[in-house]
Amino acid sequence: MNHNRKPGLARLWVLAALLALVAAACGGDEAEEPATTAAPGTTQATADAEEEPASPEEPMEPLRIAVVAPSASNDLAFTQSIVDAVNVIAAENPGTEVAITDGTFIVEDAAAAIRGYADEGYDLVLAHGSQYGGSLEEIAGDFPDTAFAWGTSTDTLGQPNVSAYNAASEQGGYVMGRMAAVLSDSKVIGVVGPIEVGDAKLFVDGFANGAMEQDGVTVNINYIGSFSDVALASEAAQAHIASGADVLTGSAQMVVGAVGVAQANDVLWFGTQANQTSLAPDLVVASQVYKWEIVLRDIIADISAGSLGGKAYEIDLANGGLAIEYNDGYPLPAEARTIADAAIAGIIDGSIHPLEQMFVEEPEPMEPLRIAIVAPSASNDLAFTQSIVDAVNVIAAENPGTEVAITDGTFIVEDAAAAIRGYADEGYDLVLAHGSQYGGSLEEIAGDFPDTAFAWGTSADTLGQPNVSAYNAASDQGGYVMGVVAAELTQSGVIGVVGPIEVGDAKLFVDGFASGARNQGDVTVNINYIGSFSDVALASEAAQAHIASGADVLTGSAQMVVGAVGVAQANDVLWFGTQANQTSLAPDLVVGSQVYKWEVVLRDIIADISAGSLGGKAYEIDLANGGLVIEPNDGYPLPADVIALAAATINGIIDGSINTGAN
């Protein structure tokens, strides 16, 4: 939390439009008495430049430099690399004033900060984040006398006052990949990446190439889909170790957790962006360190010479902007060091191309989309809402750059309508109205936003709108399969079903389940719709009532069944889940769950959008297209003949020889 409050404070200052003194103090550098009037900074800088064109060797004119960066200044990664570099510059040039706004992962905030610094007359404003480009393009035009630098990027945005700076991080990645291959005993190496963009992607590609130069080495790469999710990065590291990796690396600020995992598991780590030795003093082999001061010196020299931008710079091993810093605390075998030195030499003299070996396998990259979800219950309901949130996250992981916004818990239809309208208004490309009850409102809204694609589920009806897709789940299919299995497993011949209200996919599931069970054998299926999607206690008691009536197998649909699963667990009664995998709720007694994989239809919908069609089609997930999956619980010993029966039933439904009997 502390980590979060700091950037908030930094933004506070910017937003309050306090003057440079305060901002500099925030940056943590001793500030010279700044000009407190608004304009002089820039005019003075250009005026000085005219009278005295400086050469790089001479001490430079005192400058006011501002940094706007997405993560914390002490992230031991991307942001820290630029902060360190600016501090080096400040040390070299006494009088340089430094202001930092870190933690602005919200692009709008970063834009506000960049604009604020330009307005306050800073001479050089560093927009340190690839994601800031779009905003910078606008801002740079408004402040033609201010110099901006944008990284990591190779594009100056066509502006005469924007410099671009980039890191050839694949070079250090390649060198460390070579070392990793030598040091690994298991020959399995794990990589934890954020999303597949920018210098992180370059690093990972270079590293993988370097490692795979050696035969028999497996490199597992896991892009976790976030720059900030430390917990997820740790879990990814754990997963790598579980898969046999004994050397790990990773890029971006969220890897701090992964380094900890490496330390705890006695596994080697290679760092990048900043020197990460402090995180695991025994196990960090080396770090590729960004020395942005190399390019900053050039940029500042250009400014002093009167040129505010228009050039692209790069740090690499040759110009010393990238350095491999070894950890003295780790006894690196001489063999590895030799290989590393040879690789560095080869890269510098041009005989090795770190990215060349990489076979390009971009699976039809889709355009980055902005997707919004509006759903009635909580994102973590282990049921209806979670199914769509999970699916959209899968899509986002597959398509780097996808932006996801979620408004969950909007069981109030008018609020949902307001949210749907709001997202459409804010220019989201695809707005998912994830609730049958939203249809009436969506019909109105979709007409007002003909250029926005909407998808509505669960439904089979596109509302007659050309920009509405419908998606539905044939949940009766999984229901039928599980009903058949349930009939086989019951000893008492009584099966209980806990439903919410008799509508939508819940009804389909219940009907399919009942029909499957009844067709399979002479069983009684008691169905209890409790009249609520949210009353957990009542659902539990309904489960109790079923058990009291002799049921020894239960199932149920919708988010309030979490309590009923607990009852099943407490009474040693079997449970079948639907909508999401509910095994975690009763690890011994959940036989299996029908899981919705909405990503199957989302991929189609997004492909249609990319192809220019915003809707008008209805999609369905079912067993045949893989959108419905029966996920068995490995912890429950299902007899082989029942497994065979389930498989046969699934095949029967897919080939059409079995009718689920629902609607």
């Binding site: 939390m1 979060n4 409050r5 950037p7 908030g8 933004r11 506070l12 937003l15 919200i106 709008e108 905030d109 506000a112 009635p376 909580a378 916004a405 979620i406 408004t407 969950d408 818990g409 909007t410 069981f411 109030i412 239809v413 008018e414 609020d415 309508a417 307001a418 949210a419 309208r421 709001g422 997202y423 208004d425 804010e426 609730g435 049958s436 009850q437 249809g439 009436g440 409102s441 969506l442 019909e443 109105e444 809204i445 007002d448 669960t458 439904s459 089979a460 919410p500 209200i501 008799e502 509508v503 939508g504 009804k507 389909l508 009249g531 609520s532 999607f533 949210s534 629902a662 609607n663």
Partner: protein, 392 residues
Amino acid sequence: MTSPGSAGRRSRLANQLLSYSVPVLAVLGALAIGAVMLAMLGANPFSGFWAMAKGAFGSSGALVETALKSTPLLLVGVGITIAFRANVINIGGEGQMVSGALATTVIALGMTDVPSWIALPLALLAGLVGGAIWGAIPGALKAYFGVNEILSTIMLNVVAVQAMNFLLRAPLIDPKEIERGTRIPQTARLPESTDLPLFVENGRLHIGPFIGVLAAVLVYMLLWRTTSGYRLRAVGQSGDAARYSGMSVERNVVWALTLSGAMAGLAGAILVLGSEGHRMVTDGSTIGFTGSAGFNGIVTALFGGLHPLWTIPSSFLFGGLLVGAIALQRAAQVPTALVLALNGLVVLFVVSLDRYRRQLKEREERSASAIAIDQEGDDGSPPPSGKDLEDG
């Protein structure tokens, strides 16, 4: 108003201004805690609140959304002022909104091929009556059977929501839903003749907010310009005194809850007729339909000093807060639950600081009455609380 001395006027004005700023300060206090919560969630409170302000009042579209969100709050709030004046508590607004909406739906569904000038007033009237009945029941139970209105209104909320589920799932369900097998508990689109007229074609602003304002004015006139209103207030002030002067306390209690329910019912009617989907739809819960307006309306009334006219601006502010909170959620991408928590904080702060407003108000009344005897002391300014009243 007879002319008070200029010194008295100044201090009265100052007190008045102070007493109006107290609820505003209370809201700011709640938002300050909200800011801390936002920061803890990793969101930027300032951009969040900026988005909130923009989302509530920042554009004509936002203002329209706010006006629409305010309407049920205003109507329920106006109903609450009636009940409070008669010294009864009506926390059954949720159920009354639902029953009003159901009555409206039933009537509106039957209005195919009926011209709008007949269909629409009938549909609105149905809501009024539906809510009135749901208010009259606890009124009668209290007056003639001694059943406390808190118990009966809470229980009637439960009954109303189940009636809604039953009606929307079976008799009133959209036939297409049965045909398709999707069975969403919603009615067919109501006939266009019952749509609330729009101010701008293809816009969102319908006449609902103006019905709300009209109702507030009418209730004000009723309470302070008619004998029946006078009786209500007299009963609220002192049941025994009213009884002694020959008024029926029982009848007035029923009357107050009936009127109060009627206002909530009208709110429900407007929610249905003015909804995006032009139909009633349920998720099986009350607040799924009302959006807690039956509760928030109580707060709105208090915010407006329990005066029907002051409830108008108060509902607009409160509606803006709710609309803005949704915009904030979108901008900051924090869990929507934060909106509810913020709503609760605002209520707590407003109600906690209400005593200071009342004290300031009392001081103001004292300084005013020291100078002149005010014939209609409470027209246009909020009274100190539900208990006081000045008979003209």
